[in-house]
Symmetry: C2
Subunit: 231 residues, 2 copies
DNA sequence: TAAATAATTGTCGAAAATACAATAATTAAT
DNA sequence: ATTAATTATTGTATTTTCGACAATTATTTA
C-alpha cells in the first residue's frame, strides 16, 4: 500500500447538488438547469455548486435553493454522495445530493450565474444530463419514492389546498400505477386532513372538496406509531 | 458574497466511516475502535479513514472493512454525509458514513494501525465517541432500523442457520418491543425460508428447528412486489 | 331537461392482523 | 420412569383492512 503525506489528502473539493421536485399537471417534475459554462456547457444538469471551505453541507444546499427560487425554510433531504475519482473532469470533486419538495406555483424559479435556462421536467422523462447526473437523479428519485411511502412529504408538493383526486394522482404518477378511488380514500382515513367548506372552482364537472394537511396536527395525532403511505 | 479562486476549493479531505453491525446474544451490536492517535486519542470511535485521492468512496469503505475484519464481498450501505466545517480539528474533512451487516462469529475483528482495541457494543448502549461520531452513529442506526423494515438485510447478521425465535428477537431488540410469537410466524410466512432437518444443539429445552435464508430464492419468488418486514 | 363527467359513498367476500389458547418436544430434577 | 419446567409450534376466533366493483350525488354543458 502506498503512503502519502497527510497534507496530500487536502486536495479535494466537494459540491452539493440540489434537486427540486414539484407537482403540476398530474406529474412530478424535477428542476433542471442548462449549464452556461464549461465543462458540459449547454448540457442539462442538476443545480449544484461547490461548497465553500467554511460552509456546512446543509448550508450550501440552502444557498443553492435560495439562488434558484428565493425560497428559504424548505425542508431539505440529504440523499447520497457520489465520489468516483473521475466524475468531474477538472479535479476530484465529491458531491452530496439533496432534494427538496416545493410547490411549483409558489415562486418563479430563475436562472442564476451558472445557468442559462431552467425547466421543470417530469421525472419519467429526464434527458441526458451532464457529469454523472443521470445516476444521481435516478438514485435520488428512487429515494424520493421510498420516502413517499413512509413520510408525509407529498404535501410539500401539493397545493396548500388540494382535492383527494390530486392527492391520489400524485401517487399514481410516482409509482406509475392506477389506484382505486374508493380504496385510496379508505387508506388515507387515518391521516388527519382538514376538510374545508370551500370547493374547487372553474372545473367543468362536480367540484371536489378541498383539503389541507397540517404537520403539527399530524405530529399530535400520530402518537408513537408511524403512519404508512404504502399505496 | 465573497469570491475565491477555483483552486481554493480544492483544499478539503474526505473520510469514510464504516459502521459494522452484528447480532449476538440477542443484541444488535456496533463495532467500535479505541483510537490510538491524536486527535481524540483513547476515545471510542467509529472505524474510518481518509479516502485516497484516486479512490472511490465505496472502495475506501471496502478497504476499511477488510482491514478490520479480513472480509470482502460484504454488502455496504451508504448512509449519510457529515460536513460541518469544524467537525475535524485538523482541517476540513467531510465524512461519508457507510454500514455493513456481518456475522460476528464469522471472523476475528482485529485492531489496525489506527486502533488499539476494538469492541462490539450494543446499539442501545453507545458511549461518548470521538468527533461527531455520536451523531453519525445515531443517524445511521435510525437508517438501519428503517431498512430492516423494508429489505431482507437482517439475515446478514443472523447465523447462517437460525431459529425463528432468534429471528424474532432481532426485531424485538431493534425496535425495543416484544412481539407475539404466533403472529410473528404468520407475518413471515411469505418469506421463502429454507427449513432444515437439523435442530438446535445444547439447549436445555425443546430444540428449535433451524432455518436459512437464500437471497436468490428471495429474488425469484418475489416477482415485482416488494416484501415488507414491518413487525 | 338530459347527458356527461367526475366526486363520493357503500357493499361484500377475501385476506391479514391481533389476542389468546392449546399442544408438542425436550431437559433436568425427583 | 415420572414429572416439572421451559420453550417450540400450531390453532382458533375476532376484528380490521384490502380489493374489486357498484351505486349514488353534484355540477356543468349541450
Amino acid at each position: 500500500m502506498y503512503r502519502i503525506n497527510f497534507s496530500d489528502f487536502f486536495t479535494s473539493a466537494f459540491s452539493v447538488d440540489c434537486m427540486l421536485f414539484g407537482y403540476s399537471q398530474g406529474q412530478i417534475k424535477a428542476l433542471l438547469i442548462k449549464r452556461a459554462m464549461e465543462p458540459y456547457n449547454n448540457f442539462w444538469a442538476i443545480p449544484g455548486d461547490l461548497v465553500y471551505p467554511d460552509e456546512d453541507l446543509d448550508e450550501a444546499a440552502n444557498r443553492i435553493l435560495k439562488d434558484l427560487t428565493g425560497l428559504t425554510d424548505v425542508g431539505l433531504h440529504q440523499a447520497q454522495s457520489f465520489g468516483h475519482p473521475k466524475r468531474h473532469p477538472q479535479g476530484r470533486v465529491v458531491t452530496v445530493s439533496y432534494f427538496a419538495l416545493v410547490r411549483i406555483e409558489d415562486f418563479n424559479a430563475k436562472a442564476s450565474s451558472w445557468a442559462d435556462e431552467i425547466s421543470w421536467v417530469p421525472i419519467h422523462d429526464i434527458p441526458v444530463l451532464a457529469f454523472d447526473h443521470n445516476l444521481i437523479m435516478a438514485t435520488t428519485i428512487e429515494l424520493l419514492k421510498q420516502k413517499l411511502h413512509v413520510e408525509p412529504i407529498c404535501f410539500d408538493m401539493l397545493p396548500d389546498r388540494f382535492t383527494l383526486s390530486e392527492f391520489q394522482q400524485l401517487y399514481e404518477y410516482a409509482y406509475n400505477q392506477s389506484l382505486d378511488k374508493a380504496n385510496f380514500r379508505k387508506k388515507i382515513k387515518h391521516i388527519p386532513l382538514l376538510a374545508h367548506d370551500e370547493k374547487q372552482q372553474m372545473v367543468k364537472h362536480r367540484p371536489a372538496k378541498l383539503f389541507s394537511f397540517s404537520h403539527t396536527e399530524y405530529i399530535n395525532k400520530q402518537g408513537l406509531k408511524d403512519y404508512q403511505f404504502k399505496m
